[in-house]
């Protein structure tokens, strides 16, 4: 379970607290929605819940953030990545640019943790299939539409099989058809036991997918 207990956070070099005493729980198989106005701290919440802030981003965290009982501040970045993946709102920056094919791009995470080749292929294939983008496997990741890039970035996270996912407006750049695919994937992931923290502006999507919705 991801637990935030009165978590406050501010970025390095800034006096203002972007998150102010936020308490939240995301259990296994649960989809917790977060809504809020622009600049209300939704992206920051994803970073804090995943542990990237402050582990990688820096800044100051007050209160407690735990992933499966372990404080995120005690975990190293790669250990955090295996527990909670984060999908940023701009998928283009999540494409590494190092691979000629989408399959290679999705396999990047499993390769990083040194899995055997067969398992890397199996995970990459499964992640692409789960999002319904198996047909993109041989495409060049640099030549994808925004929506396709979003799905590929998400597949890259799924291939690491984290227990939790923090999705920062995952459908904001997708057409309705692709957004529906992502929604279906979220439902499947939750059914498989993955806990999902989902920030969204789309009220209908939040209502349809989420076990509960909190306001920032």
């Amino acid at each position: 379970m991801i637990v935030l207990e009165r978590a406050s956070y501010r970025y390095p070099g800034t006096p203002a607290w972007v998150l102010d005493s936020v308490s939240l729980k995301v259990g296994a198989g649960e989809v917790v929605g977060v809504r809020g106005a622009n600049e209300s701290g939704k992206t920051t919440l994803c970073l804090v819940a995943s542990g990237l802030a402050p582990a990688v981003v820096g800044g100051e965290l007050r209160g407690h953030v735990l992933v499966d009982g372990r404080p995120t501040v005690e975990l190293r970045p790669h250990e955090l990545a295996l527990r909670c993946g984060v999908l940023f709102d701009n998928p283009a920056v999540q494409i590494t640019g190092l691979h000629r094919t989408v399959a290679g791009e999705v396999a990047f995470g499993p390769c990083n943790i040194g899995l055997p080749v067969a398992e890397v292929h199996e995970r990459a294939g499964a992640a692409l299939a789960m999002l319904g983008i198996g047909h993109l496997a041989s495409r060049d990741p640099q030549h994808l539409s925004g929506g396709e890039a979003q799905l590929v970035a998400m597949a890259g996270l799924l291939a690491l099989r984290p227990a939790y996912l923090a999705l920062d407006e995952p459908t904001s750049r997708l057409d309705p058809e692709r957004a529906a695919l992502v929604a279906e994937a979220i439902v499947r992931m939750a059914a498989g036991g993955t806990g999902v923290l989902l920030t969204e502006h789309d009220e209908a999507l939040l209502a349809r997918l989420c076990t509960r919705v909190v306001e920032l």
């Binding site: 920056v93 640019g97 691979h99 000629r100």
Partner: protein, 216 residues
């Protein structure tokens, strides 16, 4: 001195011949010729300095020797990138023991040019839509460059942080060796050629050293 210059010229000439033959065999002669043509301004300025200005002192022969050395230094890398996919190069470097961070730095550097070009196109289109004149006389073009530089540089710098986060989310910092998905075929002849080239390099350096000592 004359002996040293002549020796350098002959070695560079030999490197050029080998590069040209290799390019011919790989059907990349045209790309090699384009890379050589790109050095034309440097060649002309070298000729002017050496042949016309007293400070140059080398004359036409000196200018030719300098040009040969320049070509000898630049065409082999040009041939390497004309015949080898960046992904193949990176995975082989990694398979041969280069660290993941070093491989990423090389890969990111190789990907930086097309990425910057794409970003520049986006910025130009955005500025044109706001009325910036980027065509016409050179003065107008020059005036149009300044408003493009700031968004290009600032945008690229801002993207660096997001990309770093995206890498951490994919467990890039995990300890141990990464999985290399594909090894390129490496024949006995290729291995022998590599050893011979390394031997030639050492022999060339030693001979050059000896020639310099004798010339003194």
């Amino acid at each position: 001195m004359a002996l040293s210059v002549a020796w350098g010229g002959w070695v560079a000439g030999a490197v050029l011949v080998v590069s040209a033959v290799a390019a011919l065999r790989a059907h990349r002669l045209r790309r090699l010729a384009l890379a050589a043509a790109a050095l034309l301004p440097v060649a002309l300025s070298s000729l002017l300095i050496n042949a016309l200005l007293p400070a140059g002192g080398g004359g036409v022969a000196g200018a030719l020797a300098a040009l040969l050395r320049l070509l000898g230094a630049t065409l082999p890398p040009a041939l390497l990138f004309a015949t080898t996919e960046a992904g193949d190069l990176l995975s082989e470097l990694e398979a041969r023991g280069l660290g993941r961070r070093a491989v990423f730095v090389i890969g990111a550097a190789l990907a930086a040019v097309p990425r910057t070009q794409a970003r520049a196109t986006e910025v130009i289109d955005a500025q044109r839509a706001r009325g910036l004149d980027t065509e016409g006389s050179w003065r107008r073009r020059l005036r149009g460059v300044l408003p493009l530089v700031a968004p290009l540089v600032i945008g690229s710098l801002a993207e660096v942080e997001e990309r770093a986060l995206a890498l951490e989310v994919r467990a890039f910092g995990a300890p141990g060796r990464r999985t290399v998905l594909r090894r390129l075929p490496d024949s006995r002849w290729q291995r022998a050629a590599r050893r011979a080239l390394a031997g030639l390099l050492v022999a060339g350096l030693l001979t050059r050293l000896a020639v310099a000592v004798v010339a003194r």
